[in-house]
Symmetry: C2
Subunit: 165 residues, 2 copies
Amino acid sequence: MGVGPADVAGDAFQDLMPFNHCWGCGADNPAGLRLKSRWSPDDPEVALAAFRPRAEHMAGPRHVLNGGIIATILDCHGVCTSVADAYRREGRAIGRGDTIWFATGSLDVRYLAPVPVDAAVELRARVIEHGERKTVVDCTLVAAADVCAPSIRGACSPSVAAGSE
Amino acid sequence: MGVGPADVAGDAFQDLMPFNHCWGCGADNPAGLRLKSRWSPDDPEVALAAFRPRAEHMAGPRHVLNGGIIATILDCHGVCTSVADAYRREGRAIGRGDTIWFATGSLDVRYLAPVPVDAAVELRARVIEHGERKTVVDCTLVAAADVCAPSIRGACSPSVAAGSE
């Protein structure tokens, strides 16, 4: 357990991505969640992120993590894994050369079990399909007790315009 | 256009639901988005909500609404429409008698077009399937220019425990 910054090597994807003002993960958005994703040191095909919710991120009941926050961090971790994967396939460091960006085309979340709001959660993502116009990422949220919580497939279309601002 | 509080009759679902601390829509969560949903005055099967994003709710590019925020308000509007529908089917006002609550089982969002962050969005939900253990809600987000943006089907399972806190 414990996928924190000390456990995974290298700078976070988000810290290397230019023009990322995203509420969920943008290094350039001080009011956002500021999710950080990195390649796993144990499996180069897997990207990891840890997220510690704030108390206000509760669902209807106070002790459960909000489903919208869960969807947000799954989406951000999936998109940023797509971006990091695309740079890697081109043999470039993230943020070097022409900007690569993806926009989510669809987001399917299965909520399998309640996630406690008072502990860090782990996210694990893997690109399972990549093409000219679509990349598909499997992303899973694991709660503190090793119970798999939601999982997701996010289909991301490469986006050119997003990096231009 | 303009589905605001003045355009739809009655108190918001969320203001009548007890124990709702939800980050997306809870009246009891001052730090959250505080989404408000109401039955349409024109179609009793449709629930409406208006949401005005804050600037910080941007996606990677500054002018686009974040996909996680979109998922959050679609989810909240869908769940609260399920709750309101369930009370109505039992002939009770929302919040009267035993508490009815739903937890989202799955959330499928299709992002059809970018949504501007600097204008209010409209949400329209309709229960399309209801059973003992599952309710399905179609929910659509409409952006300022009348362009349909994402749509969703959220399958919500009735939850007993959520109302007990």
